[in-house]
Symmetry: C2
Subunit: 807 residues, 2 copies
């Protein structure tokens, strides 16, 4: 691995699924896992093509109970391309001796290159090179160039290219009892002299997916070969080309594919568009050029340069290894959420576009994904907020159904925004189904509200608040007000019967009903949302304010109540002043971390371990992932202080380190997102530790540290979040009160960091060293911005550059 | 007609189609013409439901040549509701004696109310009142409340409610030989105890349309009646409810309908969503309340108050008649292009959402529709520009196909942005087909570029330019540069072989090929676009500028060439200095207007008249609609002066009046859009004449002054444009150089005008009188704006009010 690529030498079937997930190619519209197409010739595995927002709802059975599940759909596979010496068997990696194999994911250009040399049973040696892309400039196109060189044989070579709609969703072993076949046949056809066409429809959501492929064979620049009629079967179409191959001469095959769905905009009928697109598409070389150019400019906007002293991952490469990992994360992020998603109705699925785990559901990962993108290309984050806005009505229905008012976004959701959280999950250790109450994670909406405000802070886009944001914030505030109940004993408001982010606590020991009271994270986020809702009404133009309040029937009394609740929400503290994760946490038992680490060798899925022992995580002071700590991730010390003061609770210099120390020691760090928040909260207290945790987070997927979850799909939130630790945590970026605050604290191994952000229309280059910060505003027409460093606010105008010595 | 409604007394079958068109209800997502549902009981005519962007492409035959035509699809009709006295015939207006009939379109609340009293063949007298809405707050819903009162009879009353997908597009007589049947059956069903469900698919574009209806019958607040099983037939589902009716007691039927299509966002499957929506929908009263509130706030944003001295339309009503007509136009505009279109992929069809004429095609009407909306709710105009942006690639393909570079938007287009202009049209006077070369109206793209800039000027939304606008402007500039050829004789660039807006001149007399050279409007718009493209590069942040230029492969040489062309474009002038409409116009014959007016009594469709006489409009100095005059519509005197100076042509005080006088006298004013531009250009020269033409424009549709075109659909561009004469022309609003210029000149009959505009985030109230202007900025957070009055620029901050005495 150098600074711009991920390289695998040697073919390893055992590693193929992991490599597939890591070598995904995508453009925000669709994605293809990085499998070797030749390995699919035996029909055992198809990586499929994944479509943003192309979710399908199927009745499936989990734990004996029929559920309607929103599923990520594998669209037809566009990759299949194989060959044979006429009369022989189709080439398959399983049947040949692999002499050499090299796979390189080129992050800079966005292509996957595979070089292979193999000897078949008849002793013929053949070289195969394939270059593959999912187009970043023209989102409907993908292309595969395969070069076949017979080293020591000549004869007729048959090339078969196919489009295959028989794909199933079977990547996740534990989902295989669910319905995996989502596509029903619509049409197959030959197109012209060199094309094939496939049209299928998803079973429940009835999305029509059309693919067309143009296959041309060349020797040098000369078209060669004779194309046969298409083989058509339901959901499968293939076409063969026969060329006379000569030892030492390379035959090059260009397969250009177009994918359209019935959900696309600016189309007539998706099949017509796909066929038109392959007729219009340029050569592979032309497509590659435009694709590389698009990535070049994406990297200009999204790259990060860093200089690392010692690199613990692959020390032989110096600082390049860390840079490559950071870029791999950015690369995956941009493949799922890219400029092309601006005009889609697509959320942020937890496992990217192609990971089948969680069936494509949308959780709260956007709280980790959003900030990195928001400071780079806010047009993308605006689109993510619109995805939520379109589902606001569904969130209102959900709130009413649960006995609340306002809008309650679901913990897991899919296509139309309906709650999709499972009600049970299977413990493979005990063989028992365990109840899943995580729909009680009501806090997801607070994260959305937080993002609305972050978007407004970074852009100053008042029109967004006018049209969408204000309505979202107000209806979420109303939800929290309706969820809060007044407790006269404490003369405070409470939120009862919820879950915080920590999924190891869903109820009190011995309780019949799930739910916890006064989860600190939830209560404080509710306060923040209620306060922000009041603020948004100040910011809105008067007529808009009246319109929004009228539409939502918000009265002055209700606003006064929100204000009261936002000042009298209850937080629970331990006797020693530590913030309780939830009311009653203090009385739980301490967990014997060492004993379990000894007994099991790891602390992975303590919920399974304890349940199998007849115990439960709910009895202990332990957390799966950051819960109280999330507060220190989302809010700066200043902001936390003002929230505590608003509530009339004490806040001193020890509040933050005391809580961090307490909860960090009691965390199993058992979510891919843990390391993001962990390295973040440690950054101020223990910089070396923060850097170590950050580096652990960087290898989460590439090393598959959760032992098998990455092949089910990369962890998008963790990938984005770890990059955001560099971008916002080590720089100390905070967006508040129309000021871009910077408070850089580079951990020692990070000697230099250079990044690019957009703020209020200004393009800024930030260059950080241990004791200095340079802010350079590029030429533009945006007005001067306000930047806060060392506690002082400075105006920086376009084309101005300022250097600050850090105190 | 009072200030807020359009009332018809008495049932007049001959007027029904006109009333239908004028009494359309819509919400930007779908629209329903205002037909009497009872008149549809005989099956002869169904008004249908119209869907934004729901166009269907069908092969049809025009003039012996097979064309692929983009067609507006009539979605299933949701209105059908009829009744009968058990055993008798179904109620139909055709079979009863109508004792009284009153139809009122209530513009303020957005409802259509019909009151009817009729006596049937058996002598039974029945009162029927229906109230209908297409919901402005929840765009997927529509509702019909029908109250039936037997005056002098009792007995079992059978009520039949249906959803009917057997609608055809047959409104336009001359299109009836085209395929009119667009819907194929998918599903019909009963839903629960009181619902029906229909699903159809458009034939070519394969858009699935689902409708569900909930039908409940009441006496007072009490549910009554027995609902029968559904009648299901292909594309038709009906359900009957039987109630015992009593003389003098009103039976009230609520029919609540939901419509979803497969193109909608945030849905699972459209049928599921439609069924869910009717289950969740409130009562008719609740829907009416929320709908009225939405209209209330729309009117707060979009209304105009005017005080008119003498009202030539219906003098007995004083100034109210003019106000009502203005509101009718705004009402229709908001029914086609509304806040709900922001998230659709919908353009501005020439005849609104429901007019079948022009088959739903998109022309350049947005140049007239855009400005009114842009100064009120720029989020809507942004969406209109995105509609074009999504079709930019298609415009590039069109340019290449015609031998040009850059992007060439088509004169008529539909779903995927492909050119849809007819190649022939039928002259009913001669019985001959005439060639239609209007695809040579290349100027449509210049209007789009103009709107891009207007949007930027009104909002200062640099991000829009970054993401979309710059690319559009640059590729349109490239088109004009490629269309210009250098003529060494004049040492100037020329644009040859095009048509201007005037459709009466498509070629030179005696020419084999269509096309004219150096159309003044086209050449000057090209100059404006080329100059603006250079300016946008100055405005873009440096990295974005590089990205866009890289992607489009724009070189410095090319930019230099654009600059040269924009300074050396040729305009042709007559010997006396009048700008020639096109090169050679001066040598055409003068037309004997008086002789033709005497001979035919009108000057309507002079092209048909002359062709039938064996002559042609191309021989004469006449125009169908403004061509040169469009320049004075789009550009202020200052802007024209600077364009002329840029080109090195003389421009003096007489340039504008001389050209206006010359061309106004030579115009047949034979487009619905003529009066907009005419009243505009006359405003400075001859204010009384301007007001008269403006008033003519106001009655274009309500009086169907083109003699039969309005029943085929209202003229949306003319409606919006006439309102914009009030908004921008009489106020003298001009958006230029970050200044909101105001130069009010009220024509005498208009004593006072009060309107509301948004500019750079500020909400402004403008109050105009003959000699004074008041500008009041409402409270907001936007920075101070710059307002130019009497040639001086003033800063106006939020909450500030300034009064100017006009010089």
């Amino acid at each position: 691995m150098n600074g711009w690529s991920l390289v695998y030498e040697g073919f390893d079937p055992a590693q193929e699924r992991l490599r597939e997930a890591l070598c995904t190619l995508g453009n925000g519209y669709f994605a293809t896992r990085g499998a070797a197409p030749e390995s699919t010739a035996d029909g055992t595995h198809y990586p499929g093509t994944y479509i943003a927002g192309g979710y399908d709802r199927l009745p499936s059975v989990i734990g004996g109970r029929t559920l309607e599940h929103e599923d990520l759909v594998n669209a037809p596979n566009w990759l299949p391309l194989t060959f044979r010496v006429s009369g022989g068997p189709w080439f398959s990696l399983a049947d040949v001796e692999v002499l050499s194999y090299r796979q390189e994911l080129d992050l800079r250009r966005g292509v996957l290159v595979r070089d292979l040399r193999a000897r078949d049973a008849a002793g013929r040696t053949t070289r195969v090179r394939s270059v593959r892309l999912v187009h970043m400039a023209t989102p409907h196109l993908a292309a595969l160039e395969t070069s076949i060189t017979p080293e020591d044989w000549s004869g007729p070579l048959e090339i078969r290219a196919a489009l295959d709609g028989r794909v199933v969703n079977d990547l996740v072993a534990r989902y295989r009892h669910l319905a995996g076949e989502h596509l029903v046949p619509v049409e197959t056809a030959a197109v012209g002299s060199d094309g094939i066409f496939l049209k299928v429809r998803t079973r429940q959501s009835e999305i029509v997916i059309a693919q067309a492929a143009r296959v041309r064979v060349f020797e040098g620049d000369r078209r060669v070969g004779e194309t046969r009629p298409a083989h058509e079967e339901p959901r499968h179409v293939a076409r063969d080309t026969v060329v006379p191959a000569t030892a030492g001469t390379t035959v090059r095959i260009e397969k250009i594919v177009a994918l359209y769905t019935s959900r696309d905009r600016a189309i007539s009928e998706c099949g017509l568009e796909a066929r038109t697109a392959i007729a219009r598409a340029g050569t592979f070389a032309e497509l590659l050029h435009a694709h590389g150019l698009a990535w070049h400019h994406l990297w200009r906007t999204f790259d990060m340069e860093l200089e690392v002293e010692a690199d613990p991952v692959t020390p032989r490469d110096g600082s390049l290894a860390t840079a490559a990992l950071v870029r791999l994360h950015i690369f995956h992020l941009l493949q799922t959420v890219s400029p092309h998603t601006r005009d889609l109705d697509a959320g942020v699925p937890a496992r990217g576009l192609h990971g089948e785990a969680y069936r494509g559901h949308v959780f709260w990962d956007e709280v980790f994904v959003f900030p990195f993108l928001n400071l780079r290309m806010p047009e993308i984050t605006r689109a993510l907020l619109l995805y939520r806005y379109r589902r606001l009505e569904e969130a209102r229905v959900a709130a009413r159904a649960a006995g609340y008012r306002g809008a309650m976004f679901p913990w897991q959701s899919g296509s139309n925004g309906r709650e999709e959280t499972d009600t049970q999950f299977f413990n493979p250790r005990s063989g028992r189904w365990m109840a899943d109450h995580s729909h009680l994670q009501r806090h997801v909406g607070a994260a959305i509200a937080y993002n609305v405000w972050q978007y407004y802070e970074v852009t100053g886009d008042l029109e967004f608040l006018v049209d969408y944001g204000a309505e979202m914030l107000l209806d979420m505030a109303r939800f929290w007000a309706s969820a809060a109940t007044y407790d006269p004993r404490h003369e405070r408001y409470e939120i009862r019967g919820v879950m915080g982010p920590d999924e190891y606590h869903d109820r009190y020991p011995g309780a019949d009903q799930p739910g916890l009271n006064n989860n600190a994270y939830t209560n404080l986020m509710a306060v923040w949302v209620l306060a922000r809702a009041r603020e948004v009404l100040e910011v809105l133009p008067a007529t808009v304010c009246r319109r929004v309040c009228d539409r939502l029937a918000i009265t002055d009394e209700e606003l006064a109540e929100w204000d009261t609740i936002s000042r009298r929400m209850r937080l629970v503290f331990h006797a020693d002043g530590v913030l309780s994760q939830f009311e009653g946490y203090e009385s739980l038992a301490e967990f014997d971390w060492e004993a379990y680490r000894r007994r099991y060798g790891h602390l992975y899925r303590l919920d399974f371990i304890l349940e199998a022992e007849g115990d439960s995580t709910i009895h202990y002071k332990l957390s799966k992932q950051p819960d109280v700590l999330m507060l220190f991730y989302l809010f700066s010390a200043d902001e936390l202080r003002s929230l505590f003061e608003r509530l009339g609770y004490p806040f001193d210099e020890q509040t933050i380190p005391r809580n961090i120390n307490y909860y960090y020691a009691r965390s199993a760090h058992d979510s891919s997102l843990s390391r993001v928040a962990d390295s973040w909260v440690l950054a101020r207290a223990d910089r070396p530790a923060s850097w170590d945790v950050f580096m652990e987070g960087l290898v989460t997927d590439v090393a598959d540290i959760q032992g098998g979850t990455t092949p089910e799909g990369i962890h998008l939130g963790a990938m984005a979040g770890s990059v955001d630790v560099l971008q916002r945590c080590y720089t100390g970026i905070e967006l508040r009160g129309d000021v871009l605050w910077l408070d850089p604290r580079l951990p020692a191994p990070l000697r230099r960091l250079r990044l690019f952000v957009r703020y209020r229309g200004q393009s800024l280059v930030l260059e950080l060293e241990a004791d200095a910060l340079q802010v350079s505003a590029m030429h533009c027409v945006a007005p001067a911005i306000r930047v806060g460093v060392n506690g002082q606010v400075h105006e920086i105008a376009e084309s101005e550059s300022r250097r600050f010595v850090l105190k």
